[in-house]
């Protein structure tokens, strides 16, 4: 008897949750097709219209990170559409993958099938990226991830993949340095969520800890709700710092379980947990003092990004930029800069072949790519929850005492 609902229900959840979006995307695609059939002109002053795709989690447990990125794309597109010097207008086609690897290819295929689509911002999560990129490469459609940080992604010979965020090798090395020299941990418990992202990050941290001669224990646990026996295990291990490589819904429950048992060591996580939802779901009291590393600066506190923050708030009815919003904005602007050069003559091939040469001052960093598609250079920042708020402590390099 148990077998029937077990297989039926999760599958049905996904399809039913995806259907409205699927219908929306299909609808948009049909509208796009109709417009193309009418000569490719949109109603907006007869300007040519290009479509930009977005792939990421727009529903499901980790949707906040996808929504942050989507709003960043939206901001860049809105600003571009207000710029009368551009010979074209832009429209976003969103495809929801719920951050799940198994839904990545379907979400990607929807965007690929839309022939007016010039490039994609996304996928947002590493697992979905790994599953989707073979399709993008085959179709020759440029995809620029704002946030997929698994180190191996740029070693898999994907021909149309770029990312504007540093891989987890950079974040892991930074986090390990911070653990060794600022936290001065005697023993670290490195726990990951067994995802593409989590294992990549925990592996990078552990290599860094080895170099710094900090003893550590490695463990992995698939996302679940009940972290009580895991917390007992961590406390029995005696580590004075725990680093969780995974996303915020699970990190919140883990933190809750650890603090509920009276764990008094340092609790850390990475960019996947760098969202205010973490504080909300863990409870402010439990989250207090938690540290988060991220190869991303906080646009809200960076004076150089004030213009972006103002634009973002204007477009997104007062919302503040979240994690990956700035990266998504930069990725979109990088695509727009290529389209601007090519005017109304752009094609998927021309956009893809010109993208590697982009050099643009972004809000998060200078957007310039290495040959494998990785962005050049990056700084790892440390955040801390203080008085129920995420605050930036600064880049690892300045926090580490020599």
């Amino acid at each position: 008897m148990t077998a029937t609902p077990r297989t039926l229900r999760p599958r049905s959840t996904r399809t039913s949750a995806r259907r409205p979006v699927a219908a929306m995307v299909a609808g948009l695609a049909m509208v796009g097709g109709l417009l193309a059939a009418c000569g490719g002109d949109s109603s907006d002053g007869g300007k040519k219209e290009y479509l930009i795709g977005f792939q990421g989690p727009l529903s499901g447990e980790s949707q906040q990170l996808g929504i942050n990125a989507y709003n960043g794309v939206l901001t860049a597109v809105e600003l571009a559409n207000q710029d009368s010097s551009l010979p074209f207008t832009l429209r976003i086609v969103a495809s929801d993958d719920q951050g799940q690897p198994e839904q990545g290819p379907t979400a990607a295929q929807k965007l690929i099938d839309n022939s007016d689509l010039m490039a994609v911002v996304g996928p947002v999560f590493s697992g979905a990226t790994k599953a989707s990129e073979p399709l993008y490469s085959q179709a020759g459609l440029l995809s620029v991830s704002p946030s997929a940080t698994n180190p191996t992604l740029t070693d898999l010979n994907f021909t149309s993949f770029y990312r504007v965020i540093a891989p987890d090798t950079v974040q892991g090395a930074g986090a390990a340095e911070y653990l060794a020299k600022a936290v001065r941990a005697k023993r670290v418990y490195s726990l990951d969520d067994r995802s593409e992202y989590g294992t990549g990050l925990s592996g990078a941290i552990e290599r860094g800890l080895e170099r710094a001669r900090v003893p550590f224990a490695h463990d992995g646990i698939n996302p679940t709700k009940d972290y009580t026996s895991q917390a007992t295990k961590i406390m029995a291990d005696g580590a004075d710092a725990v680093y969780y490589s995974g996303y915020y819904p699970e990190f919140a429950l883990l933190t809750k379980a650890l603090r509920g048992k009276g764990y008094d060591g340092v609790i850390l996580s990475g960019d996947g947990s760098n969202d205010d939802q973490f504080i909300r779901q863990a409870g402010a009291a439990n989250a207090e003092g938690t540290l988060i590393t991220c190869p991303c600066s906080d646009a809200n506190s960076d004076p150089a990004a004030a213009g972006f923050v103002a634009d973002y708030k204007k477009v997104n009815s007062g919302l503040k930029p979240g994690t990956y919003s700035g990266e998504a904005y930069d990725a979109t602007n990088a695509i727009i800069s290529v389209l601007r050069e090519q005017g109304t003559e752009a094609s998927r091939e021309s956009v893809l072949s010109a993208f590697g040469k982009v050099d643009l001052p972004g809000v998060t960093k200078r957007i310039r790519f290495q040959r494998n598609g990785d962005v050049e250079g990056s700084t790892v920042y440390v955040y801390q929850v203080k008085d129920g708020q995420r605050t930036v402590l600064g880049p690892v390099s300045t926090l580490v005492k020599p």
């Binding site: 609902p5 959840t13 529903s59 949707q63 463990d219 026996s229 895991q230 295990k233 919140a252 048992k261």
Partner: protein, 310 residues
């Protein structure tokens, strides 16, 4: 295996989760007892109860406000439990009214009930996802969580104590209700032989509704307790629902005390299994135990009859 401290800690954690499984399992077992029907939408009753209690306590304890203490905390926990139980009971009543009664009137085959249950379950949790959002939502802090007592080195938090105490009270109350009251007697009579009970003057329809509502009260309150530790989300019902169903089968489906023993045992097995092996093997171990028990005792630990005197 670690020291006495770990053994004690794991036992307490296991009993806490197990008590929650037991509370939900009672809903499965009671309904099975009277209708010989597995109510697969019970997990959604649990989820809706959790949201009911959560919204009620959210309304009283705003975000970022001070954590209540003393009597206010106790009152708030009871209030949350009460609203959760009411929400669960309402959901269970609606479920019986819309998904089962029409089928029963028409004498539908067993399979139709199963499909109806799965349909109701899909409907309920997708609606909840649409209405309550897809993010996990925490129950606000109703009391300051800290260590109350230490048993063999294991720290017992206020929260575990609240959960254990509430669950225990509910389990005792149900046991008393089924074994020692007129309503319980009627429920047992219907479970034993519905037709005969009807001839003896028991209003079978009423007893069926009462059984659903009773299961709903328990699942709703249990949902609120679960959300205190693990947060509430629209998909939260599925896994605990399956676990509670397992617990009910483990103890002997249709048997009230069996469900309690099954729940506690499952909680313990999970807690120790998750520690000794990999935490990801927790479910593997739990279901391996289920299969092993059923191989030896196909009708569960205590047998399957609700009808016999408990």
């Amino acid at each position: 295996m670690g020291s006495a401290e770990q053994i004690s800690q794991l036992t307490i954690d296991g009993l806490m989760v197990g008590a929650l499984y037991a509370v939900i399992a009672l809903g499965y077992t009671l309904v099975y007892g009277v209708l010989q029907l597995i109510n697969f939408a019970h997990s959604e009753v649990f989820m809706l109860g959790a949201f009911g209690g959560l919204f009620a306590s959210r309304a009283l304890v705003p975000d970022g406000g001070a954590t209540p203490s003393g009597l206010a905390s106790a009152g708030l926990v009871l209030f949350g439990l009460g609203v959760g139980a009411l929400a669960g009971a309402t959901a269970a009543y609606a479920l019986e009214r819309c998904a089962y009664r029409p089928l029963r009137r028409r004498g539908a085959p067993r399979l139709a009930y199963l499909i109806s249950a799965i349909g109701a379950s899909l409907f309920a949790f997708n609606l909840a996802g649409k209405e309550f959002g897809r993010q996990s939502v925490p129950v606000p802090e109703l009391f300051t969580n800290g260590t109350v007592v230490t048993v063999f080195g294991a720290e017992i938090s206020t929260q575990s104590l609240v959960i254990a105490a509430s669950a225990l009270m509910m389990l005792l109350a149900v046991d008393h209700l089924v074994a020692g009251t007129r309503l319980g007697q009627s429920i047992r009579a219907v479970a034993q032989d519905a037709e005969c009970a009807g001839l003896m003057g028991v209003d079978v329809q009423k007893i069926i509704v009462a059984t659903f509502v009773l299961g709903g009260l328990l699942a709703g309150a249990g949902g609120f307790l679960y959300a205190m530790t693990f947060n509430a989300s629209y998909t939260m019902g599925f896994v605990p629902g399956i676990k509670a169903f397992t617990a009910a089968v483990l103890g002997g489906i249709g048997n009230v005390r069996g469900a309690v023993i099954g729940g506690l045992l499952l909680g313990l097995v999970e807690s120790f299994g998750g520690y000794l092996f990999d935490a990801s093997y927790k479910n593997v171990i739990a279901f391996a135990v289920l299969v092993a028990v059923l191989l030896v005792r196909p009708s569960g630990l205590l047998g399957t009859r609700l009808g016999r005197p408990a």
